[in-house]
């Protein structure tokens, strides 16, 4: 049971959060210009690293904000928590 530090609400139990997968995947500007392969890359392909992972979390049972975390996928230690945009506050 991870302890996750919501950038707003503070440290809360993992059960208050939902996981959003890999962070930093930007939706392509012009999907129709992409080849099928490029689109598949965006849609399905994931880094899935063994080690440091930048990922999305949502404080779904709390403030409902999405934010990012840098977590080690082997030790499960969370090294960093980051907000996603200037505007999120």
């Amino acid at each position: 049971m991870l302890l996750i530090k919501c950038p707003w609400c503070g440290a809360r139990a993992e059960t208050e959060f939902s996981y959003g997968g890999e962070a930093d995947i930007k939706r392509p500007e012009a999907p129709d210009k992409l080849s099928d392969k490029e689109w598949a890359d965006y849609l399905f392909m994931r880094k899935n690293p063994r080690g440091t992972h930048r990922e999305l979390w949502n404080h779904s049972q709390g403030c409902r904000r999405w934010f990012g975390a840098e977590r080690n996928t082997v030790t499960y230690q969370i090294a960093d928590i980051f907000t996603l945009s200037e505007d999120s506050g």
Binding site: K37, D41, R46, N48, P49, R50, T75, Y76
Partner: protein, 415 residues
């Protein structure tokens, strides 16, 4: 030495001092015709069928740890073939047919026990899905039937079929030929049989890089040195992305923790396998008497072979919902594996853009049952450099074309 009751008696007289090695412990050679990376059940089966069906003897299995220590050694051992889509069910049914003769084929008792598997339905939509799957199974030649709550109660007297349950059991699908097998024996049996055919099984040998030249694989770097080969088949389950990143190949895989636990050994009380999507738990009883129970995957990715305890608490609640009398039964041990989850809950058994490099992964929470079948088609793919018709649909291109084989809807729990 062939295993049999007679050989057991004979060896007893010599105090079991003359049993040979089940498999050798060779040092890696400089070069093999083909390498299989990953000494789980799938890797070992691949090597065995490469040797047996395709005559390739100069081959090796490279295992970073000890064989069978990955998901093969930590799953709930459910074997069934009642999948929804034809592509999937034909693949799993091939595997089922191999299971049915596996102990004899390998001369190693893998204790494949066809005690039947119930997939419970708790909502009207569950029951529609069950009908749909059962009808599809029958047309594909797979034994399957829809059973009522009363029939379930008759075969599993301790299950809670009360209509007042929070999620009452409305019915189930039953595959009588489905069942469980002894997980470790599967790895060991394949290893022994492959070794017998000359396959080198090399443990404590971690692949750290894959070398290519001109779009073709040439060798792997390992913790025990460089090993050359023309063909490399990668079957490392939860670690697929780690291997694919060595050649900049992107995979649609996320590795998640999946947990399971066993109870203390009990006198026989369940003689079949029960799975439920809606309340999310699945349970069977081993020959030693432990209840073997599987949980759901953790939402986050993880390579830690452990997950969050809250998942286990939910599974406990689900099991007690199904079997209220088990509240006093005690959990003996809890563990986790790393499952390689694909977007459509179906495997990838495929050539890659690199010549001579093949990947077999994406089995997620349900690949144990496929062990022999997966090895059989993967061996074919590697030997012939083209997929068998059974694994053709399970290629990497489907993520570009969109031809996914979506088993999610049909069996959210794909174990």
């Amino acid at each position: 030495m062939r295993y049999s009751a007679l050989s057991l008696v004979k060896n007893a007289f010599t105090h079991n001092r003359n049993w040979g090695e089940a498999w050798r412990t060779p040092d890696p050679k400089k070069h093999y015709d083909a390498l299989i990376v990953g000494g789980g059940g799938h890797g070992l089966a691949t090597a065995y069928y490469l040797a047996k069906e395709h005559g390739m003897r100069n081959i090796a299995v490279l295992e970073k740890n000890w064989i069978g220590g990955g998901n093969t050694g930590r799953n709930t051992t459910i074997v069934r073939s009642n999948y929804l889509w034809t592509e999937a069910s034909l693949l799993y049914e091939k595997s089922m047919q191999l299971w049915e003769r596996l102990s004899q084929e390998l001369n190693y008792n893998v204790m494949f026990s066809q005690r039947g598997v119930y997939n419970l339905g708790h909502t009207l939509q569950d029951m529609r899905d069950i009908e749909r799957r059962v009808h599809a199974n029958r047309l594909n030649g797979i034994d399957a039937k829809v059973v009522t709550a009363e029939e379930i109660k008759e075969s599993i007297p301790h299950i809670n079929t009360s209509p007042d349950a929070r999620y009452p059991i409305l019915g189930a699908s039953l595959q009588p030929r489905a069942g469980v097998a002894r997980h470790d024996a599967v790895a060991w049996g394949f290893a022994r049989a492959a070794d017998n055919l000359g396959v080198d099984i090399i443990e404590q040998c971690e692949v750290t890089a894959i070398n290519c030249e001109g779009g073709h694989v040439t060798a792997v770097e390992t913790s025990r040195g460089t090993i050359h080969a023309e063909k490399i088949g990668v079957v490392v389950a939860g670690n697929a992305s780690v291997l694919s990143s060595m050649v900049d190949l992107r995979l649609p895989i996320e590795s998640h923790p999946l947990q399971a636990y066993v109870s203390e050994p009990l006198r026989p009380i369940i003689d079949t396998v029960i799975m439920s999507n809606a309340v999310h738990g699945y349970i069977s009883q081993s020959d030693k008497g432990e209840l073997v129970i599987g949980a759901g995957i953790d939402a986050y990715t993880g390579y830690g072979q452990r997950g969050s305890f809250s998942i286990i608490e939910h599974t406990m609640q689900a099991i007690i919902e199904l079997f209220p009398i088990f509240s006093r039964v005690r959990m003996l041990r809890l563990w986790g594996g790393i499952v390689d989850v694909s977007p459509d809950a179906c495997p990838i058994i495929s050539k890659t853009p690199i010549d001579g490099l093949y990947f077999n992964c994406g089995w997620g929470t349900g690949g144990f049952k496929a062990t022999p079948g997966s090895g059989w088609v993967f061996a074919h793919t590697i030997a012939k450099d083209q997929p068998h018709s059974l694994n053709k649909p399970f290629n990497l291109q489907r993520f570009e074309t969109g031809a996914l084989i979506d088993e999610h809807g049909a069996a959210a729990v794909a174990h």
